[in-house]
Amino acid sequence: MDETTLLIIYIFVVAIFLGVELIGRVPSTLHTPLMSGTNAIHGIVVLGGMIVLGQADTWWLQVMGFLAVALGAANAFGGFAVTDRMLEMFNRKPGAGR
């Protein structure tokens, strides 16, 4: 195992602790948006798809890469959009739109 990998594992472990700390006392009202928001954040895998497609040197790697990027982008941007819609309703002024 080289130094870079070890360093990345370090960061991985620290980020795990951080993840738990960050959402510590979240009110149940926010469970659904929070789940949806974290769901969108793992859309970061779109980067992996981009790298696969960028390096693809056969047609079937291009197909796999294309699918990965499209699905990853859907995960990320669709996820953020749907979370935003939910939170927008929370933020609306009480009684507005009556």
Partner: protein
């Protein structure tokens, strides 16, 4: 120290992304800042995508020479546009009641991305070490499970697949064998390292993991799907981090780890609010034992008092304090707007209306808050369980709309009840109780609710939306 400025700038952009995700997550768990947190995370995602787009990673290596393939770059842009566009349109159009399904789909496609990326990495890279192979296979397996698992969860929530646990004889053994097969194939690939046999095994492994994902979610009851999605969400995060490890991509490692950890924690919080253990949900819960649960209740038919819409409307119209208890049934009947109308009408008559929200009301924890917010129910009328539970004793009428298990007094008194210990709303302390329900069917816990047989309780059967609309007109007439 810095060998290449191009790489350094990309890495710094990833750092900026990580910071935006961290602050975004922090904000997302605070009601006032939640929306800004989500927007910040969106910006972080865009920064990461742009950074990757200009990074030196996106080059095809041929005979030791690496070169940018503009065809591939074009394909990336096209795929990004297609994926983002379709999903954002879907996100704008989806009904608020269908939110859990939408989240399930987005979770699943993320899993598919990890799986595809990991398999492609294995096929593409020649000299992955054994350690990296293990990580790659783990990414592929977890991603595949998250994909098909989420799709089954979607099917159950959308009622394309029966919400009841799907079981068949020797299911546990079949799943066990499948899991063993996946592990054995994985071990073989790690030993072989590469070559055409190893590649074939990876394809088989990939397909087996897809089947396994569907197989483990099928036997879980529909009402537990939110927790299942939370678990798969967390798993996809872990798989994303693993893929980041293989690809030396810091943004993926940090974001994946954050989601993996926060998702796991959120899963525990949700399970706790439902008084279920995660193992119980995953492996043969009382969801699976529909027969055991109904065993006690199915035998004798206890009497219930039935009331007409007009009876209920009169009781409500002449009450001073009314507490509305919305539940899953309200979400299914899409009656959130009708309930607001009724509340408005009552308020106009000087009735004091409050809503009691159980932490797991709706189809997902917090879902009911979203639905009522959509119907413009003023914030200050929504009360969490802890805030309102003492007020039921002063309530003239408690109006229960499609809620069941969260009002069952057995959770307090009956040690043998499967929901014993679950925090419930003290509906039984109200002076008069009206329950709007489609039928006497039991809730997802599959158990009888004593509340419905209480002297103070009257049942109003029918579709919640139609009943509520009829009640609005009846209140107007009084």
């Amino acid at each position: 120290m810095i060998d290449n400025w191009h790489d350094a700038i990309v890495d710094l952009a990833y750092l900026a992304t990580a910071i935006m995700f961290i602050i975004g997550l922090k904000y997302l768990s605070t009601p006032k800042l939640a929306r800004r947190g989500n927007q910040l995370a969106t910006v972080g995602m865009i920064v990461a995508v742009l950074a990757t787009l200009v990074s030196r990673e996106l080059r095809v290596t041929e005979n030791g020479q690496s070169e940018t393939s503009w065809t591939n770059i074009g394909l990336i842009l096209l795929a990004l546009a297609v994926g983002a566009l379709l999903s954002v349109v879907a996100a704008q159009r989806v009904k608020m009641t269908a939110m859990p399904q939408m989240v399930a789909i987005f979770c699943g496609v993320g899993g598919a991305t990890v799986a595809l990326t990991s398999v492609a990495e294995f096929m593409h890279k020649e000299d992955l070490g054994r350690g990296m192979i293990v990580l790659t296979l783990l990414g592929a397996v977890i991603g595949s499970i998250a994909f098909t698992g989420s799709m089954v969860a979607f099917g159950k929530l959308q009622e394309l697949i029966s919400g009841r646990p799907v079981t068949f004889p020797n299911q546990t053994m079949a799943n066990g064998i499948l899991f063993g097969g996946i592990a054995a194939l994985g071990a073989a690939v790690v030993l072989l390292q590469d070559g055409s046999t190893a590649k074939l095994f990876v394809w088989i492994l990939f397909i087996a993991a897809l089947i396994f994902g569907a197989a483990i979610v099928l036997p879980i009851g529909g009402a537990d799907m939110p927790v299942v999605i939370a678990i798969l969400n967390s798993l996809t995060g872990v798989a994303a981090a693993l893929a980041g490890l293989i690809m030396d991509n810091m943004a993926m490692v940090i974001a994946g780890a954050l989601v993996g950890a926060s998702g796991a924690y959120l899963t525990l919080l949700m399970a706790k609010a439902m008084n279920r253990s995660v193992t119980n949900i995953l492996f043969g819960a009382f969801g699976g034992g529909g027969e055991t649960a109904s065993g006690g209740a199915g035998g004798e038919q206890k009497p219930v008092k039935e009331a007409s819409v007009d009876d209920a409307a009169v009781a409500l119209a002449y009450a001073t304090n009314v507490i509305v208890v919305p539940g899953y049934g309200l979400a299914v009947a899409q009656a959130q707007h009708a309930v607001r109308e009724l509340a408005d009408e009552l308020e106009e008559r000087g009735v004091n209306v409050k809503y009691a929200i159980h932490p797991v009301a709706g189809r997902m924890p917090g879902h009911m808050n979203v639905l009522l917010a959509e119907a413009n129910v003023p914030y200050e009328q929504l009360y969490d369980m802890e805030q309102i539970n003492d007020e039921f004793a002063q309530a003239d009428v408690a109006l229960v709309i499609g809620a069941n298990d969260v009002t069952n007094p057995a959770a307090r008194t009956d040690k043998t009840s499967p929901i014993f210990g679950m925090p419930i709303l003290n509906v039984d302390q109200a002076r008069q109780i009206y329950v709007l329900k489609r039928s006497m069917k039991s809730g997802f816990a599959g158990i009888e609710n004593e509340l419905f047989h209480d002297q103070k309780t009257s049942m109003v059967f029918g579709d919640a939306k139609a009943t509520l609309s009829a009640m609005v007109s009846a209140v107007k007439e009084n």
